[in-house]
Amino acid sequence: MRFEEELVELLPRLRRFARGLARDASDADDLCQAAIERALKSQEQWQQGTRLDSWMYRITRNLWIDDRRAAGRRGIHTPIDDAATQVAGDGAAEVEAGALRGDVDGAMARLPDEQREVVMLVLVEGYAYREAADILEVPIGTVTSRLARGRETLMHLLGEAA
């Protein structure tokens, strides 16, 4: 199958991954667009016989990280203005636990980037720890510890039984 055709088949999954990282739907598609452009340009770097999906996820994730760092340098911070902080005035601890019940986007937004990407790769995209570690270019132990922290936070924010 041609490179482009394989990429077309990957698009729905790639958009899902990007949505989880970037939250906003049009930001996510911007990210996908940048990733596709990068992939087409560096097509010869992809080794036939290796997994195209892992390669694309790595490109997408790296572009996202670059963008987040650049935004951080410009002093732009993703607003965290969700329900939990707005009502934090009265009984903050109680409000915090389960306050985002049902609001998966809000809860995911509160995860640090490095936990959110692992949660997306393993829990949503269904990659094995080893595959996620390869995509993120980190040791497998880093994947499991970030995943554990991300999970605990999500369970806490989304309510007792998540």
């Binding site: 729905p12 958009r15 899902r16 998966v104 829990l123 949503v124 999970r151 039984a161």
Partner: protein, 233 residues
């Protein structure tokens, strides 16, 4: 619980070798706290999967597809289109068959796997296995005191669906009957959860009260609804 949290998580993620996985499954059958921990992880995963699944069904924006448009001359003849369709569909098709085969094999090779109470379909969390069976068949008015799943209230919600609150070792919640499945509208940790509070039953009743129209079903109405397969009136 004799397994550390990382091992339980790895179990849920399918990362353990078969021997260890089997040991956890055996122990979970007799250790409500372990079963609850596993259910907690599965619920989170089901919720995340359900939340992001709709993206897969969205039409891919034209600006993305345009980047990958093939420059081949467009063949508009019927035969040409048929050929194109066949070629394009074949890999997906075989991929799907391979995936379902792998799934079947995985299930077939693990007969000791306890049936999950929760699964995910079309972007929502639904009851499965023993929980679905209890919601289907068990009557609040005549259930044995040691039933694994206890039905609390049966009622109609504002959309006209039949809903039932339930409690079990690992999971409490409210399921509503929709298109032949029990959609889990509310879930919370069951009695075995580390942070289970007596208030949980009260919370469930309060949530049910908010959802229901009219009164909860009495024994006769409940039996009648069951006889009709919990289909909307």
């Amino acid at each position: 619980m004799s397994f550390d949290p990382a091992t339980v998580a790895a179990f849920v993620d399918g990362e353990l070798d078969d021997l260890t996985a089997r040991r956890i499954e055996r122990e979970a059958a007799n250790d409500p706290a372990l079963a609850a921990e596993i259910a907690r992880h599965r619920t989170l995963q089901a919720r995340l999967t359900a939340h992001y699944a709709p993206v897969l069904d969205e039409a891919v924006p034209g600006r993305l597809r345009a980047l990958l448009a093939t420059s081949d001359k467009v063949d508009t003849s019927l035969a040409g289109r048929r050929e194109a369709k066949r070629v394009r569909f074949a890999p997906i098709h075989f991929g799907a068959i391979a995936a379902s085969l792998a799934l079947g094999l995985a299930l077939g090779l693990r007969p000791w796997m306890p049936p999950a109470s929760v699964t995910e379909a079309n972007g929502t969390i639904i009851a499965a296995g023993p929980l679905a069976k209890a919601l289907d068949t068990q009557l609040a008015s005549s259930q044995s005191t040691n039933a694994a799943v206890r039905i609390g209230l049966s009622f109609e919600d504002k959309a006209g669906r039949y809903c039932r609150s339930f409690e079990s070792q690992s999971l409490n919640g409210i399921g509503c009957r929709d298109s032949g499945r029990w959609h889990l509208e509310r879930t919370m940790t069951g009695q075995a959860g580390a942070d289970y509070r007596q208030a949980s039953s009260g919370e469930l009743a309060a949530a049910a009260a908010k959802m229901m129209t009219g009164d909860p079903l009495d024994a006769a109405a409940e039996r009648q609804a069951r006889a009709k397969g919990w289909a909307r009136r």
